[in-house]
């Protein structure tokens, strides 16, 4: 079927098999490989992207369900001048990533959290990121990064 998705501000249109998952559409059709696939049960969150501004696991919806809608991936997070988003900056400053595989999904989940709750407590950050698994950091610095980004954005 024909699917048109606005990805990081650009229209991507393609004829794809009906069963194409959004994550494969992003990786193989739009050519954006930051978004990773870490499981097959919607458990890990590595594939998290923003759909119309809210986080979704892109392995758990069909590309067809995103037809006519707007997706932002990690590649589209920095502004047009390449200025990094506060969450990206904070992840680096706080060493919130190691191998980097969960990072694109984790960052997008954090961005979504802060748009819904600009001033989260540590416990709220931990609960909000429950659907995003990381095996390297023990989450310690990820949580610090999200709290730091919230602080920088005037949330606290």
């Amino acid at each position: 079927m024909n699917v048109t998705v606005t990805v990081n501000g650009s229209q991507v249109e393609a004829e794809v098999p009906d069963r194409t998952l959004l994550v494969h559409f992003l990786r193989d059709v739009a050519g954006l490989t930051a978004t990773n696939i870490g499981c097959d049960t919607s458990s890990c969150g590595a594939c998290t992207v923003l759909l119309d501004g809210r986080s979704v696991k892109s392995c758990t919806m069909l590309a067809a369900q995103a037809d006519g809608r707007s997706v932002v991936t990690l590649e589209g997070l920095a502004d047009g001048d390449g200025e990094l988003h506060a969450v990206q900056r904070a992840f680096r400053a706080e060493h919130g990533l190691q191998c980097g595989f969960c990072t694109p999904g984790m960052v997008m989940a954090a961005v979504s959290l802060l748009s819904e709750n600009p001033d989260p407590s540590e416990a709220e950050v931990r609960t909000a990121l429950e659907g995003n698994l990381c095996r390297c950091t023990g989450y310690h610095n990820i949580v610090r990064a999200v709290l730091a980004a919230a602080g920088e954005r005037g949330g606290r």
Binding site: R92, H95, T103, N132, C134, R135, T137, G138
Partner: protein
């Protein structure tokens, strides 16, 4: 001020945070354009004879390029003959797959031995077609009884390898006559389980390959590109020079990506066999049965000593479940034996182990690889001993820790510990945690019968890092005539921050700013020789090699600069703050690295180093965990975790802390949540991330890390390994905290993981026992 020892943010991060890493599935190199997708057909049964494979329907399916079974493997040399008899347990080398009757085939030949064993491969134009076609491969299995239970494995009624005549692959150490415990006032013994875990790197295994013009190129998610090259060369009978192995970004590994396993060899073979480039990226469900598992020991521990707290004797007898194929032979339990007595000065230490095969996924290294198992055993033993004599577990530890004046210390397990301040680490943690107040709070909760009980758990540990130090590591440092530098390293990064760390070493030694230093690793065309990353060896071996190469380049540059400045070499100095050479005390004479490199002649400034003089090092520390245990539901929450992890001189605290954080989380997860479970027929029942309980942010506290640096004496950086400290220290600390939370009910031990069901059942049983006693 030197950059060494400071908190430097990572050079790796800008790419990872903007366009993401380039993992095997992300490679868009020309050689892989149009690569076929590989889908494995894996055994759905644990133990069976294969009586037929029909691939006709699959071959006809849309999008299918090829369907390959063992019958197609007619172009490989026979595997080298295995040495006669049992291999010596625990040679300190990398993985030791056993040959002879235990040999592991590439694709199953006539028998499958675990759920997940590769039986056939389907090559298709795209992923979805591969999944469809794989379902069309029809395999006839004649089921055999599955061996899952360790006693059944030892009993040998059903054999996995009939030609071997036994399921016991390795036996080491002898039976005990008990005399070691003569003279002990108190002896406690118990059988405990160090359960099977799945490593679950966030990126699973992945391999891509192309074969063109007689050269094989393999991109593999591995910890060791160079070792992988020799594995492929051996498997294919190729000259290593005809093979290029590339480790692109690797999304976590934790020991389970050492070298290249049979799946990776098969993918590379498929490229060579069909002439078509191929790519395989496993699914998570595939990963949970196909990637090696870790731990899987049953231990019988026995500890004895005096009533005033002195431990006199300790024995740890291990049965190592090695899964369907003894890939590590006796190595893991060997390390468990070597580190058996931990940081304690114990007069009589005995170890023994048997390695048995079962119809389960093969066991290999997982973050700690034999040492967390040793530490968990001895830390449980110390707590059992403390409980038996009614002494505070912190006090028992203090009495028995090796004192600082005994180093180097020859342990009862057979290791020589290099340096340590064990009691100091314990006291540092007790003070920072507020141990006395925690005990007081625990007493108050017990007094009032609070349903939320407090548990305080301790683990003091010593571990061995760079156990194979003599294997060394390579580095090359070049300074170019534009003033930039390039580092080639045999070490291999998968998240640890090697690129940042190695650039810091170059800046520290040469004064070339780290943003002008490029670090290259994991490509055998660029770095043909190297070992790679495991056993927490990177900084102490690979980092030292970089340091030595930089020192060599510096001395070369001194001579060149002397020529340039028409001065004598000893009169020159390198100002590492400004990154310039000058006549001592005369800044006006300064020459930049670019000028010196340009003057160096055709060979430029370059030096190789292969650091092989290292010795294993012995990091140590103490972990204290505090849990809240809900006695009404059995649910345990880790609420504090305080640690000292002394790994010698720290190059970058940010990176070292990151290693500790990750390890602590994995350790706590083993204690509380994770277990790879099989049913009696050998079916994995935790084969997806819905069932296998990876710890999340919501189940962990922030960690309280204390610093302590006791320099290593065997390398110029003073570095010991930090990568595995977390799993080694945290696991028993959290387990001990859980037991401590219910010890007042008469509970002395709980196996891991401390799931609500297990804790609740133990509390119920203990309460019933008390009620029965009181009723009598």
């Amino acid at each position: 001020m030197s950059i060494l020892g400071t908190r430097v943010v990572r050079t790796e991060d800008p790419l990872l945070l903007t366009v993401g890493g380039t993992y095997v599935d992300d490679l868009r190199v020309p050689e892989l354009a149009g690569a076929a997708r590989v889908t494995f057909v894996r055994s759905p049964v644990a133990h069976a004879l294969i009586t037929g494979i029909d691939v006709a329907a699959a071959r006809e399916a849309p999008g299918v390029v090829a369907v390959l079974t063992v019958a197609d493997i007619d172009d490989l040399p026979p595997p080298p003959p295995a040495p006669e008899g049992e291999p010596p347990p625990g040679s300190e080398a990398a993985p030791l797959p056993m040959g002879g009757p235990w040999a592991e085939p590439l694709l199953a030949v006539d028998r499958v031995r675990f759920v997940g064993e590769p039986v056939a491969m389907v090559l298709t134009d795209d992923t979805y077609a591969g999944e469809d076609a794989a379902e069309l491969v029809s395999v006839d299995y004649e089921p055999l009884p599955a061996v899952v239970d360790l006693d059944a494995a030892v009993g040998g009624e059903t054999l996995l390898f009939p030609a071997a005549g036994t399921n016991v692959a390795v036996t080491a150490g002898g039976p005990a006559d008990g005399s070691a415990f003569d003279g002990c006032d108190v002896v406690v013994e118990r059988t405990i389980v160090n359960q099977r875990l799945a490593p679950v790197s966030m990126e699973g295994r992945a391999t891509a390959a192309s074969w063109a013009d007689g050269k094989l190129t393999v991109w593999v998610s591995t910890q060791n590109a160079q070792i992988s090259r020799f594995i492929f060369a051996g498997a294919f009978g190729l000259d290593p020079a005809a093979i290029r192995v590339v480790a692109p970004d690797v999304g976590g590994a934790f020991g389970a990506k050492i070298g290249a396993d049979r799946d990776a060899i098969l993918v590379a073979w498929a490229a060579k066999h069909t002439g078509r480039a191929v790519r395989w990226v496993e699914t998570r469900s595939e990963n949970l049965v196909g990637m090696t598992h870790g731990r899987a020991q049953r231990q019988h521990i026995k500890i004895g000593g005096t009533r005033d707290g002195r431990i006199l004797a300790y024995r740890n007898e291990v049965i190592q479940d090695t899964g369907a194929y003894p890939r590590m032979s006796g190595f893991l339990p060997f390390l468990t034996g070597l580190m058996a007595s931990g940081p304690y000065d114990i007069g009589h230490v005995e170890t023994a182990n048997r390695v048995v095969v079962t119809n389960t996924t093969p066991i290999s290294a997982y973050r700690g690889a034999g040492r967390p198992e040793a530490t968990a055993a001895v830390e449980r033993a110390v707590d059992l001993f403390a409980a038996e004599i009614g002494m505070d577990p912190a006090e028992v530890r203090r009495i028995n820790l090796v004192p600082p004046d005994k180093f180097p210390y020859s342990s009862g397990g057979g290791a020589v510990y290099d340096s340590g301040e064990y009691v100091k680490a314990l006291d540092q943690v007790l003070t920072a945690a507020g141990y006395e107040e925690l005990r007081a709070e625990q007493a108050r909760r017990r007094e009032r019968g609070d349903p939320l009980q407090l548990g305080i758990g301790l683990a003091s540990y010593v571990e061995i890092t760079a156990a194979d130090a003599a294997g060394g590591e390579t580095a090359k440092v070049m300074v170019h005539d534009d003033g930039t530098a390039t580092v080639y390293t045999g070490s291999s990064a998968h998240g640890q921050g090697h690129h940042t760390a190695w650039a810091m070493l170059v800046q520290g030694e040469l004064g070339i700013p780290m943003e002008r230093v490029t670090v290259l690793h994991g490509d055998t065309d660029l770095v043909p020789l190297g070992t790679g990353t495991y056993a927490s060896r990177s900084l102490q071996l690979g980092g030292t090699a970089v340091h030595l190469a930089a020192v060599d380049v510096k001395e070369q540059a001194r001579a060149v600069a002397a020529d340039l400045l028409e001065a004598s070499a000893p009169d020159l100095e390198l100002d590492t703050e400004r990154g310039v050479w000058q006549v001592r005390g005369d800044p006006a004479s300064s020459r930049t690295w670019a000028e010196v490199a340009a003057h160096a002649g055709p060979d430029g400034l370059a030096a190789d180093a292969n650091f092989t003089d290292g010795q294993p090092t012995f990091p140590f520390g103490t972990h204290l965990a505090v849990v809240e245990l809900d006695t009404e539901t059995g649910k345990v929450a880790l609420i504090r975790h305080v640690t000292v992890d002394d790994a010698g001189t720290v190059l970058n605290p940010l990176l070292a802390e990151g290693q500790r954080h990750g390890g602590i989380a994995q350790g706590a997860a083993q204690a509380l949540l994770e277990e790879m479970v099989y049913d009696a027929d050998g079916n994995p029942v935790t084969g997806t991330l819905v069932d296998y309980a990876i710890v999340t942010a919501a189940e962990l506290p922030s960690f309280e890390l204390l610093s302590s640096e006791t320099p290593a004496t065997s390398n110029p950086l003073g570095a010991k390994g930090i990568g595995e400290a977390g799993t080694i220290g945290a696991t028993p600390a959290v387990q001990n905290a859980v037991v401590d939370a219910v010890s007042h009910l008469g509970i002395r031990h709980l196996d891991m993981p401390a799931t609500p069901a297990r804790v609740w059942a133990a509390i119920n049983e203990a309460t019933a026992r008390t009620a029965t006693r009181e009723g009598q």
